[in-house]
Structure formats: C-alpha cells, structure tokens
C-alpha cells in the first residue's frame, strides 16, 4: 500500500487493500453511504488516498460519497483534476487539508468552489501555473487557512498584497513569486507567521528589514534573491540563503531564546566568510550546508561544537581545513566532502575525532587505499560513498611489492556499515573478491568495466544484501543464470551490462520474482530509481531550490549504447567462445584492442 504504513499487516490494512483492489471493488461498496458516513476520518482518508494513488477514482462524482467523512485529500500531481473535481471537494464538510500541488488542470475559476470553506486549514497549490491573482481572490475567503503553499503560480506582487487578509496564516510559501518590498510590507499584519518562503523573490536589502516585524518567524528562505545583508532577526532558527551574495548576517550573540540551528548557504558567494561568521552566534548550529559556496577555509568551525550535519561538497577546501572539522567533530553525524581537494592524509587526521559519524561522502576526491584504513577506524559509520576515487582495493604493505593486502576487507570491522558505494573506482580483479568479507552490508554499489561473472557469484554469501548495483559489467547470460542471489536481495541494478540479453534478464526476473531488476533491455528506467548513498541530504532544500545544482545525472540516461559496436565481428565471436570464469583477464586484453579498432 502506498503511504499507509500504519495499517500494513493488520485487518484494517487488508480491508483497504481489498476495497481498492480494482474499479469493480470500488463499485461494490461506494453506494453504502451510511457506512461511509460513519467511517472514522482517518480510515476514510486512507481509503480515498489509496483509490487516488491507484487511479481508481474514475469520475469526480465518486468523491461525493466521501464528503461527510474525509478530512485530508491529496491529489498532488493528478493532471485530470479540474473545476468539476473542485466543485465536489467544495462540498466536503470536514475538509482540513487539501493538496493540489502540480495539478495543472486547476485554474482561477475552479478555485471559486473552494471559497468560504471554513474548515480548511491547509491548502497546497504549488506549481498550479494557471492560477493567478483572480484565483487567489477566491482563496482569500477561507479565513481559517493556516498553511498556504503557492510557490511558482502565476501570482503578481499585487496578488501577494491581498494575502494580508488571511490573518491566521502560520506558514506561507511564496517561492518563485516576484514578491517586491512593497508587497512584503503589506504582509506584516500576518504576525502569526512562523514559516516564510521567499526564494526567487525580488526582495532587496531594504525590504528584508520588514522581516523584523514577524515576531514568531523561525524558518526563512531567501535563496536566489538579491539580499546581501540580513538584519538581526531574533526568532529565526532556520535560515536558507543559498545562491545569494552575502556580505553580512547580523546575529546577536547570547540570544538565548532561539539560537540559529540550521543554515543553508549552497552556492552562495561570501564577500568575507570569516567576517560573516564572526558576527554570528553559531555555537548552537546543528546543520550547515556550504556546498558549492565560495568558502575555502573552515576557521569558523572552531566555534561550532554542536554541529551534526556538515555539507562541504564542491568547496575549495583542502587537507589544511581538516583540523577544524576534527575539532568540531564530536557530535558530527553527517559529513559530505565530495568533490573537494581532500586526500587520504586529510581523512587520516579525522580518525579518532569523529566518533559519532554515520554518513561519510568522499566521492570525487583524491583519496586512495590509505583512506580505507582510516575509515575502518570510524566506529559508527553506516553509509559510505567512495565512488569516483582512486581506491584500488589493495595496497602494498610498507613498500614490499610482494605483500599485497586487500584494503577493502578492513571495512569488515565496521559492524554498523550498511551502505557502501564503490562506483567508478580503480578496483579490479582479486580486490573484488575481498568484498565478500563485508557481511554486514545492505546496499552495495559497484560500477566498473572489470566486473565479471565470478565477482557477481562471489557476492552470493552477503546474506544481508538488499540492494546490489552491478553496473557497466561484462556479466554474461550464463553468469546471471547461475547467480544465487542472497536471500534478502530485493533490487538488482544491472544497467550498462551490455552483454546481457533480454530473454535472460526476463527469465531471471521470473525465477526470482521478489527481486526488482533494472536493465536497459527490460523497459523504461525510472530516473529516481537509484537510492543514492547520500540521498539523505538536507530535507529543507526542495527540488525547486536546488534547480541547476544537480549535475546531469547519469541515472536519467535511458538510451542504451550497445557496446558491441566497439568490436569487430571476429572479436565478438571470440568473446562468445571465451571461457567465462576467466573472462576478466581475457577481457582486459580484449577491450583496448577493440577500442583501437574504432
């Protein structure tokens, strides 16, 4: 069931499941009006949610049966929702929360049906691009509204001024709307506001001083604005000034009532970072995201001894800054230093200091196998991303070229390690074998041209493995068919394994129905599929705000280049006949030759 976790397993969950199994089953019970009216609202909500998610709500008139029981309606992203649907929703007597985000069919006249719904507390119209000033006028009659999301709709500055009549508002999301200083000024009557989102607005340094008038404001988002100086705002605990030019943030020290605990300054340019941080009280900071910003030294970290979440990705920091991270690191749980100039020595300096670190992301850095021996000494580590690094998987012990030691097996001491990402590293051959020691792993991401049948079979004993990425491999049909997947395995990502044929992948899927296989030969790949190791990023950073940050993700590539074109026919035949178990060394010899022929 989608999103009804609370009921899964019990009889209530089974009933919801059975009730929303098909359109025919809905037809069977939807006329039992009296029973529906007596349904407790949370059950009615869950039932309706399930029907909507399964696309069983054929006609807007079916909504009528729910009008006396439902309190929450979530229609987000359903493009078919239009005026007729809102006409039925307008009759819902107890509706508290209505989510119409991304409903492209909702326009100004449709909103008329919501006018005067005095039970409504939350309304989400985000990205309903057809809604403009005249539509918002209908919303103004809903005096009970406490939360209003209207980011990226067609509202003008005049429309924003009208919102001042919604005196009960606590949350107002105006992201992407050209709010001017004047419009913001007219909103200052909304004294109950505690959450204000103004990303991408036209607020200037002058306008931002009005924010002092909101006594309860604790979340403020000013990303993508021209604000460079922020006045002293005593109640703010969470601030987002991503992609701005910051010259100063005034922040009184020793303001005990509500210290700043979250600061997001992604892609921000500081005129003088040290100065900005020196006039702020940052000792209570829990979350700091300075990725892609102009910061290149971390002196200010010295004062942050409560920091838990630190994102330094794409900053110009080097090993010199590591000592500051080490000093602040007592309570650090999340550290992202990907795409920085950090090396193995830097990681070494962190050993023994970051005792609570759970997530470590070092992708696209210059670390090598020496770093693995340091990482193995971080006891609380759960998620580690080491993709795109120079890790080879083995090291020569103190210069003796005879003694090869497998550095990956060092990680077996980390009993809490759940997820390990080794995509696009320099690991090859026997080093893959040492992965079989990491029995505690639940997610393993591998991507390399050197992955072959033997190394997949080698992973069978990893009994806890739930997700396995085995990408760009030279896995063969026979190799996949002889693979004994670990019992817990639920997802197998084989993208880019170009030797596999559709029939084999399908027969593997049939044999192991519990495993969801991803491969180009079996249909569309959803771009959001890859549960990235460091996807647990800052929740406040909505997608819209990050726009333009995400590097063109490889995951979105749906097209599949058949690498067979690199090989001549003779070589193809040779490959086909080559003994499979010894494919890796053989293949190593094959590949460059094939590329030369291109």
């Amino acid at each position: 069931m989608d999103g009804d976790g609370e009921f899964v397993g019990g009889l209530v969950g089974k009933c919801i499941e059975a009730a929303s199994a098909s359109a025919r089953s809905v037809e069977k019970w939807r006329r039992q009006r009296r029973t529906l009216e007596h349904l407790p609202s949370f059950l009615a909500d869950a039932l309706l949610r399930c029907i909507i998610r399964r696309r069983l709500l054929r006609y807007p008139s079916w909504l009528e049966t729910f009008k006396n029981s439902v309190e929450n309606v979530d229609l987000r992203g359903e493009n078919y929702v239009g005026a007729e649907w809102l006409a039925y929703l307008g009759a819902f007597r107890f509706l508290r929360c209505l989510n119409l985000a991304d409903c492209k069919g909702v326009n100004n006249s449709a909103l008329w049906f919501l006018a005067g719904m005095d039970s409504l507390k939350e309304l989400d119209l985000s990205r309903c691009s057809k809604v403009s000033d005249s539509g918002i006028k209908h919303v103004l009659s809903i005096h009970s509204l406490e939360k209003l999301h209207i980011s990226e709709i067609g509202l003008t500055s005049e429309g924003v001024s009208l919102l001042s009549s919604l005196q009960n508002l606590k949350l107002l999301d105006l992201g992407g709307i050209p709010v001017t200083d004047k419009a913001l000024c007219s909103l200052q009557v909304l004294t109950k506001l505690d959450y204000l989102d103004l990303w991408g607005s036209k607020i200037s340094n002058k306008g931002v001083t009005i924010l002092v008038m909101f006594p309860k404001l604790n979340f403020l988002n000013l990303a993508w604005t021209n604000v460079t100086k922020l006045p002293y705002l005593p109640s703010i605990t969470s601030l987002n000034m991503s992609n701005c030019m910051i010259s100063s943030i005034y922040y009184a020290k020793n303001s005990m009532n509500s210290p700043l605990s979250e600061l997001l300054v992604l892609g921000t340019t500081f005129t003088d970072a040290d100065e900005v941080f020196s006039c702020m009280d940052i000792s209570y900071m829990k979350l700091l995201d300075v990725s892609r910003s102009s910061i290149c030294n971390l002196h200010f970290l010295v004062k942050m001894d409560m920091i838990e979440h630190l994102d330094l990705s794409f900053c110009g920091i080097t090993d010199d800054s590591v000592e500051y991270i080490a000093k602040a690191g007592k309570s650090l749980k999340y550290l992202n230093a990907s795409n920085t100039k950090l090396t193995s020595d830097g990681v070494g300096a962190l050993v023994g200091r970051l005792i609570n670190l759970e997530t470590l992301c070092l992708s696209n850095t210059d670390i090598n196998d020496a770093a693995l021996s340091y990482i193995a000494l971080m006891p609380s580590l759960r998620v580690t991303d080491l993709s795109h690094t120079k890790i080879k998987g083995f090291a020569y012990e103190s210069g003796h070229h005879v003694e090869k030691s497998f550095s990956l097996s060092l990680l077996q001491n980390l009993s809490r390690l759940e997820s390990l990402n080794l995509e696009d590293t320099l690991i090859k051959d026997e080093a893959f074998v040492s992965l079989a020691f990491l029995k505690q792993l639940r997610c393993l991401y591998l991507k390399s041209d050197f992955l072959s049948d033997v190394y997949l079979h080698n992973l069978s004993p990893l009994s806890n493995l739930k997700f396995l990425g085995f990408r760009n491999s030279v896995l063969t049909d026979t190799g996949l068919l002889y693979f004994m997947p670990p019992k817990a395995l639920r997802m197998l990502d084989l993208r880019g394994s170009w030797l596999l044929t559709k029939d084999t992948v399908l027969s593997f899927c049939k044999q192991y129905p519990q495993i969801e296989v991803t491969h180009e030969s079996i249909g569309m790949i959803r771009p959001d599929r890859n549960i990235s190791a460091c996807s647990s990023g800052t929740s406040q950073t909505s997608e819209a705000r990050c726009k333009g940050f995400n590097k063109p993700s490889e995951n979105c590539k749906v097209t599949f280049i058949d690498e067979r074109i690199k090989y001549s026919r003779e070589e193809m035949l040779q490959l086909q006949l080559s003994p499979l178990s010894t494919l890796a060394p053989h293949h190593r010899h094959m590949l460059p030759k094939g590329l030369r022929l291109e």
């Binding site: 019990g10 009889l11 209530v12 089974k14 009933c15 919801i16 059975a18 009730a19 199994a21 025919r24 089953s25 809905v26 069977k28 019970w29 039992q32 029973t35 529906l36 007596h38 349904l39 407790p40 059950l43 039932l47």
Partner: protein, 117 residues
C-alpha cells in the same frame, strides 16, 4: 438464541478442547445475538479483546469469558473470527491469502479498527 461453535476447519477440535479445558475458549456475541465460540488464543489477536479479557478488576468479560459486540453484525463477526485463525496460521508460517469480499470491506474495516486488529 442460537449457539454457533466456530472455528475454521477445526470445529471438532475446539469443541473437544472446550469440554476438557474450561477457559480455553471465549464467546463472542454479535449484534443479532449469535454466539461464536472460539479459542482464547485466537481471540487474543485482537488487542481490544485481549485488554477486555486480561484486564484486572474483574470485568464481566474476563470472568465469564464472553464479549458482546452490539455494533458488529453476524457476518462481519464471522469474518473477523476467520481472520483470527488465519492470522494465527500466518504467524506460524502458513502463507495463504485472506480473501475479503469488496461488499463487506467498509463494515469490516470499522470493526477491525474497533478491535485493533
């Protein structure tokens, strides 16, 4: 009033047991007055019934070993008893499907919610 000794596929076994070991079965009474005699173990699947039967202070329910449900109709209570036994089987590793007819889903959902199952 009609007495229905009830247990999916093992009614004989239940009757025998109720004769030999008193207190091993409980009586659930529907809105129409139908009585369902089931294993106490099965009835304990419901958190609500468990509380009624085990709570100290001598509730009538725990003394007599019977519970009346004036809000639950006979067919629904029958289905719920079937679920109790299915759930015991499922917990002991027997993976079968529990089928629910779409016509009764709403009423069953309300009853299940009341019984915390």
């Amino acid at each position: 009033m009609k007495l229905v000794s009830f247990a999916v596929g093992r009614s004989t076994c239940v009757q025998q047991r109720s004769r030999t070991m008193e207190g091993e079965t409980v009586k659930l009474i529907s809105a129409e007055g139908f009585e369902f005699v089931i294993d106490k173990k099965a009835a304990m699947v419901s958190q609500t019934i468990r509380n009624m039967l085990t709570s100290p202070g001598g509730f009538a329910e725990s003394q007599l070993g019977q519970v009346t449900f004036p809000e639950i109709s006979t067919p629904i209570l029958e289905k719920i008893c079937q679920y109790f036994y299915w759930s015991l089987d499922y917990a002991s590793g027997k993976e079968t499907e529990f089928h629910i007819e779409p016509e009764i889903t709403l009423e069953l959902m309300m009853a299940a919610n009341y019984l915390h199952t």
